[in-house]
């Protein structure tokens, strides 16, 4: 019996790991979304984290905990000089600038001989265990939960709702926004390092624009209003392909296009009908049920 359980675990272990990693990545996008900024530089930060960790693993004898720490610090530090100029930008411009940053980081790594260019590092020892991923995820969730209830959390919400108004109330919007960019970078870097030591490799192709779009989708589909939303979105969208794989093969549809199609459809439906994500579903249903109750007041 235990052998069967162990086999089951080993079979699906990587899926479980990726759910956790994607959760971390979704949270890193959420960090900046929570104050109303759409920053899409995560791929670049993730690359910095992954490469830092791999380099340290190969060239220094540091224990894994320190390697992870370094992998979290490097992108955080990089986020500061990035943050200053771009935080002046609004909405779509910020998004585009950060996309550009991510691409530049990727191209730099492609051309860097020191890190083997496009080949990256292979044979990275598998130092990551699944519990580490979930510990990091739990830590991040805890941090965001405490943040929510703190003064800083209220400030962030105010900034998200109406930035100019928040400023007039004396909130140092720029400092808060920068902090969230740094937090997002730290989470992305940590995820990058954990992933590198799970998939045995680091290469620039992993950190593409498409990856960032995925992270954004997790956060939006899950619900960017609550800190647990993105994690839910990540879990849902990571497990969905596994389910689809079984279905698709029976219906004769290719898993690749099907997965892409369902991702797109889910995102579209959510943004149109459930803009606060899956987490808001119970609340929405409750509201509709109440509106349908006989005798409920109708707006004139």
């Amino acid at each position: 019996m235990t052998a069967a359980l162990e086999d089951l675990w080993l079979t699906y272990q990587s899926t479980v790991a990726f759910v956790g990693l994607n959760g971390l990545l979704a949270l890193s996008v959420y960090a900046t979304l929570s104050c109303g900024q759409l920053s899409l530089a995560q791929a670049g930060f993730m690359a910095l984290g992954g490469y830092t960790a791999a380099i340290l693993t190969f060239h220094s004898g540091l224990p894994f905990a320190l390697v992870l720490l370094a992998a979290t610090l490097v992108p955080s530090l990089a986020a500061v000089p990035l943050g200053f100029p771009v935080l002046r930008l609004k909405g779509v411009f910020l998004a585009i600038a950060t996309i550009g940053f991510g691409e530049v980081v990727r191209i730099v790594f492609v051309n860097l001989e020191f890190t083997n260019g496009a080949l990256g590092y292979t044979g990275v020892p598998q130092r990551t265990r699944v519990w580490m991923i979930y510990a990091a995820l739990a830590g991040a969730l805890f941090l965001l939960w405490r943040l929510r209830r703190s003064r800083a959390g209220y400030a962030l919400e105010a900034i998200r709702e109406d930035e100019p108004a928040a400023r007039t109330m004396g909130i140092h919007a720029n400092a808060y926004k920068l902090s969230m960019v740094v937090l997002g970078a730290a989470l992305a870097g940590l995820a990058g390092a954990l992933e590198a030591h799970f998939t045995f490799m680091v290469a620039p192709s992993t950190y593409s624009f498409a990856r960032v779009v995925d992270m954004l989708v997790y956060a939006v589909v899950g619900g960017a209003g609550a800190f647990h939303g993105p994690v839910l979105g990540a879990a849902f969208l990571t497990l969905l392909p596994e389910v689809l794989r079984e279905v698709g093969s029976r219906v004769g549809l290719q898993p690749g296009p099907l997965r892409l199609f369902v991702n797109g459809l889910v995102l579209l439906l959510v943004i149109l009908f459930l803009p606060n994500g899956i987490v808001s579903l119970p609340q929405r249903l409750r509201e509709r049920r109440e509106a349908r109750r006989p005798g409920a007041a109708r707006a004139g």
């Binding site: 272990q13 492609v110 292979t122 998939t199 192709s205 690749g256």
Partner: protein, 374 residues
């Protein structure tokens, strides 16, 4: 002579025992085949799947492995390393395969093969051509496909003898593992031959416009151009080069080795040299029989098909060499004894590094088809 009681019981037990063991010998050995059936490498995966299925069918029919039936479990790695890892996990822990063939791309292999190594399951790479990072993973990883390092240098020598060029230029995709590795090999080969390189240009996988690079290369007036690119770029590169009025002889790496290249480049493909791990026109009977059987199934085989087919042949040979035993360690031990095996790729053996070894060939495009250059 009457047997003592215990002797007849013992004799009966022995008879039953041998009956049981021959019933046991009718065992099924599962081989997991992980290929890119969807995603960017899908064009290769389809051919690989066909090759594996044909080989399994033929071996089972021939009864070569007395009492052992091979069963192929084919899954799609979706050209993604996450899926590759998941597929390997399923093969090893759920389906309990005794050997794995694939995955299609070297990038996927670097992520997935270590898992097989950890769980002591032998893997046969049939299309991974990155020189480093495959067999280095461990002693359970073996390789059929010749690396660019095994094909290009000898191919270059033949072309040089034929054309006698004085200098060369290089063009390669620098953000893809395969094309970058191919470039490293090409550069080293040119240097070893003492051919000066007058210019090097790069492009990105998504590029479709190569005019700028080709113009810059043309301006340096090289006598020979080596290109390391994937099939989808190869056609564009030669077409645009010819459109610019540049008739320099061109030699491509393994990415050019696909009928898609000829189809998309048309006239521009004529005269392009390509090193190949599979000498398709070879009159070798094993090769011709393979081609005929594939065609009978409605597929015109390409190199990837031939390599996947050979992969299964090698696994079967390993089982035979291990004394008709199909366990994971039996197969691994059997690989070490595979030598001089007749395959469509030629006479095959493993090198001490567990990489594959057989004669490579150089071909060029003539009249819309690949033709071997002697």
């Amino acid at each position: 002579m009457r047997l003592a009681r215990w002797q007849s019981v013992a004799a009966a037990a022995a008879v039953l025992g041998s009956a049981a063991s021959s019933a046991r010998a009718a065992e099924t050995v599962k081989i997991g085949a992980a290929f890119s059936l969807t995603g960017n490498a899908a064009v290769y995966g389809a051919q690989q799947k066909a090759g594996v299925l044909l080989a399994v069918e033929e071996i089972n029919k021939s009864g070569k492995l007395k009492g052992i039936t091979l069963e192929a479990v084919v899954e799609d790695d979706q050209t993604s390393k996450e899926q590759g890892i998941a597929v390997f996990q399923r093969f090893i822990n759920r389906d309990k395969v005794n050997a794995i063939i694939g995955p299609t791309l070297s990038t996927t292999a670097t992520a997935a093969d270590p898992i097989a190594q950890q769980s002591k399951t032998p893997v046969v790479a049939v299309s991974n051509t990155a020189p480093k990072g495959i067999t280095d993973i461990g002693d359970y990883v073996w390789r059929i496909s010749l690396t660019e390092a095994q094909v290009i240098p000898s191919a270059l020598q033949i072309v040089r003898a034929k054309l006698g060029f004085k200098n060369a230029a290089l063009l390669y995709g620098n953000d893809d593992v395969f094309t970058k590795a191919g470039f490293d090999v090409m550069k080293a080969a040119l240097e070893k031959e003492g051919i000066p390189i007058v210019e090097i240009q790069t492009f990105a996988t998504k590029d479709r416009d190569f005019n700028a690079q080709l113009t810059a290369l043309k301006g340096k007036n090289p006598n020979f151009l080596m290109v390391s690119a994937l099939a989808e770029q190869a056609a564009g590169i030669v077409t645009q080069a010819r459109q610019l009025g540049w008739n320099v002889p061109i030699m491509g790496g393994n990415g050019f080795n696909s009928p898609a290249f000829i189809k998309n480049a048309g006239q521009a493909a004529e005269g392009v040299y390509v090193g190949t791990a599979w000498n398709k026109p070879s009159p070798d009977p094993v090769n011709q029989a393979f081609i005929a059987s594939m065609k009978a199934k409605g597929t015109d085989p390409d190199q990837f098909c031939a390599q996947a087919y050979t992969g299964v042949l090698v696994v079967a040979e390993a089982i035979k060499q291990a004394g008709m035993k199909g366990g994971r360690d039996d197969i691994k031990a059997g690989f070490a004894k595979v030598s001089g095996l007749a395959t469509p790729l030629g006479t095959f053996s493993f090198l001490p590094s567990r990489d594959g070894n057989h004669a490579a060939a150089i071909q060029w495009v003539k009249g819309g088809k690949f033709e071997v250059v002697q």
